[in-house]
């Protein structure tokens, strides 16, 4: 379980807090959606989960984050990466290997997996995201959707308990989005916790998260059942979010 306890964080050189007194609990086997307008602290929240904050990003942090009871301040990002895998918005930032296979094996090698275990986990991760057939290709030759799936495989191969994903659907076509949904649902089925930061509420609704958090100005202003959150159209719209289409239609029908 990941427990975020009263965390307030301000980046070095920034005049305002990126997160303010945020508390939440994340369990295995569930999908969590984190939504909010730009600058609401969504990405900062993800960086907290795998220890990039406070280990990499400088700033003032109050409160604590516990990953399976371990304070993220007490463990390195490398150690935490075995528990929480973070998939970044732009996959190109991580690629440097000649082939897809080598790229995916980078993480397992970094955390010191056995050679046999590396082979097994790379194959499993590539099959999970449907890229096993493309394993000999260069990561740079893949399409946008394939690159995104590759970045997920790079993290999955480390067998983390939690998967935190930043804006997975940006620049993805509907087929790629569907494929991403399948991957995340499978992760949930395998007992992993999935945390997804997104602006794409339509896609998130189709994915079917268990809990949704709404952030604004670094504060969790709403949390709970996705149906309740998405039905509150006015609240979502005030926060610069487009509610899922079916909820807009329902609302219009009610008014009518």
């Amino acid at each position: 379980m990941i427990e975020v306890e009263g965390v307030t964080f301000k980046y070095e050189g920034s005049g305002m807090n990126a997160l303010r007194d945020v508390s939440l609990e994340l369990e295995r086997g569930k999908i969590y959606g984190v939504v909010g307008p730009n600058g609401s602290g969504k990405s900062t929240l993800l960086r907290l989960l795998n220890g990039l904050i406070p280990h990499f990003y400088r700033g003032e942090m109050k409160g604590r984050v516990l990953v399976d009871g371990v304070d993220t301040r007490e463990a390195s990002v490398a150690q935490l990466s075995k528990k929480v895998g973070l998939v970044f918005q732009n996959p190109e930032h991580m690629f440097f290997s000649e082939t897809v296979y080598e790229e995916v094996s980078f993480g397992p090698k970094s955390i010191g997996m056995d050679p046999e275990e590396i082979k097994e986990s790379v194959r499993w991760a590539l099959e999970e995201v449907g890229l096993w057939e493309l394993r000999e290709r260069s990561p740079w030759s893949l399409s946008g959707g394939e690159m995104k799936r590759l970045s997920i495989a790079c993290i999955l191969s480390m067998k983390p308990e939690f998967l935190a994903v930043d804006e997975p659907t940006i620049g993805q076509d509907s087929l790629s989005k569907e494929s991403l949904s399948e991957i995340f649902k499978r992760m949930r089925g395998e007992g992993k916790g999935v945390v997804i930061v997104t602006h794409d509420l339509e896609w998130l609704d189709e994915l079917g998260p268990d809990v949704v958090f709404v952030l604004r100005y670094g504060v969790v202003i709403n949390r709970g059942d996705p149906k309740e959150i998405f039905s509150d159209i006015r609240n979502l719209a005030t926060n610069g979010l487009i509610p899922p289409y079916r909820y807009i239609v329902d609302s219009l029908l009610e008014v009518g």
């Binding site: 990499f56 390195s76 190109e92 930032h93 440097f96 993480g107 993290i155 480390m158």
Partner: protein, 255 residues
Amino acid sequence: MLDPMGMVEIFRTQVGETPYSRLNPSTKFILFASFIALPLISASLPIQIFSLIAQVPLIILSRSERRVKRSLKASLLFIVVLVVLNYLTTHSLEFSLAMVLRLVSMIIASAIFMTGTSPAEIGDLLTKLKVPLQITFSFVIALRFIPVLADDVVMIITSQVSRGYELERGGFLEKVKRLIPILIPMIIIAIRRGHQLAEALETKAFGAIERRSSYVVYEYGRGDWILLIYAIIVITIGLVVGTLTPQFQLLPFRC
């Protein structure tokens, strides 16, 4: 001690609303050039100390205390190496100290200039000085892209660290080798950005005519005149102190 992101900060232009940023770009450039030239007038310690003290009003006017501190902190390794090498070759603590203060003085001058001058202003200034457009533009683009590439580097490092990669492991050579997963994506991203930029410039008719027109007019205000006089006074004092002191030697240890 080694802080590459801090080194990048030295070249990151960041213009806020300060009395210094409102100055005419040519005034800022003259001040910058003066404070780069001043510590070079002589290797004597008094000149270096004077050069540092004379920059205090500019630090206050540009509100660049933070930037100066960060730049100096980032350069700490080079400063230490400079002191050690100078002391080993000259056996003079005073000379070593003077050389360090010279470097510090130049770093401060750069930090002030970069804090208060936008790349566009630098470009306009170079154009006024009749520097060819291609050179001016390349320089301005390089300045503009430093923060972009710096942000890319941050993202690359965080991506690799999140994959369990430890940058700080091992001895010096091992650490250098461990930079490969950072450098390769950085180079590829930089080349891609360069390509995108070239395409964007083509679509915006860059290079269609030799002399581009400009609508920006820079005027000289009272602050500009005051600071230009200040630069003249500072350089004059530097020349007088530098030439009158017996240590008027640029590299005395070679004599």
